[in-house]
Symmetry: C2
Subunit: 272 residues, 2 copies
Amino acid sequence: MSHDELRPVYFLSDSTGITAETLGNTLLTQFPAHNFDRHTIPFITTVEQAQSVVNIIDGRAASGVQPLVFSTAVSSDVRQTLATCRGIVVDLIGAHVGQLEQALGTQASGEPGRAHGLGNAARYQSRMTAVEYAMEHDDGASLRALEKAQVILVAPSRCGKTPTTMYLALQHGIFAANFPLVDEDFEREGLPKSLQPFVSKCFGLTTNALRLSQIRTERRRGSPYASLRQCGFELRSAERLYESYRIPYINSAAVSVEEMAATILQKMDLKR
Amino acid sequence: MSHDELRPVYFLSDSTGITAETLGNTLLTQFPAHNFDRHTIPFITTVEQAQSVVNIIDGRAASGVQPLVFSTAVSSDVRQTLATCRGIVVDLIGAHVGQLEQALGTQASGEPGRAHGLGNAARYQSRMTAVEYAMEHDDGASLRALEKAQVILVAPSRCGKTPTTMYLALQHGIFAANFPLVDEDFEREGLPKSLQPFVSKCFGLTTNALRLSQIRTERRRGSPYASLRQCGFELRSAERLYESYRIPYINSAAVSVEEMAATILQKMDLKR
């Protein structure tokens, strides 16, 4: 088969499918010349459900191109059924369980895993509380309980504060607030007053002026706010401000929210 | 070693570490009798960095309990260095690359994967736009562009609408709005007027009265709003409303936001 043909890929799971998708996609990024047609099938918990998934995959295999199958199903019944399909099955659990059983001297439970389940109830609840905190403290909306923030993101408008804050809260359970930096701050060459007691919790974002101008243009085409000149001024001023307060910062232009969040956790030494 | 001893676990990655954590934790849920002391070390991109991680793990190994190491590092130099450590190394990439090379008839690129990187720029941008949409349409805050919503979550206050909406947007790039159901809706036994043109996009949440009462009590102790009686009334009324409009719904009491999001994607057949 040529690389141009669309190779069907199935991410299968007895839970949400997120793990299968994520590791499967990491592996697929190693084969950039190929094109893939991705499907996720979550919540395959019974042999009957597994059999109907096998039928789908076999139907696809019959039409020409052998599908790739990434599975994180845990129950051995389900795994054995999925293994009978006519795809190339990459069993992301089965491949490693034996090694762990040997290392730990214990049999695997064989219970469907819930890496994305409620898990530890207190930990789950703290993530939900963190989301609530992030919503309340988005874009400088509230000064209440700012001392509870583990990190306060600061940046000019549209540098990625909100999605990064939400990701820190939702994925990592971090209490994160965010504050906009505006012309007034740049004229005073100082952080907003209400943030000054919390400088050590601040983390700055910056980006490239051209990119910021493009993003702002989508909101307010032709406005001074979106002009390259104004964007350049705000970013230079913000970076100067970060440096004068020794606030660590990151350029959001070439990295994802996931990467920014991981960097912030690491640089601020945050406990989850 | 007894099961009670704390086994050190390292999640290592040349990117964010999220994949290593997630699949590692799925595997660890198979060994519930053990206790683990978890550490994540992201962004290991050079042999020098890998060597300093090996030193950390070896130091820990020297103090008694052999660490478990889950790695998603992709570069073969980094992987070879990590493989020299005195932990039990579960190589989540190396174990599968060979199988894929054979299946696809192509050599793996060996470039560090960025499953959580920017990836496809348009897809990444649409996730960020989805977060913006979700923020703007949280808790019925805006009726603007409601026709753009792919799904509208409806539920009484504190059933988990906001975190689920945020997860749909941030992880899956879904345009999701959410609306509270309130006494007025229950008295009329009808959906809010502004939602009626969009019934087919609605998805309901419910929970258990006791749990809802506990959550509301944290907010407003002793209020009628938090009373078991009021919570029971609202949930029964909401469920009746979902059924009369044939709105699919899920009980959020025993499932995580990740599980709810996966269920919503599946039941509403949403395209990401």
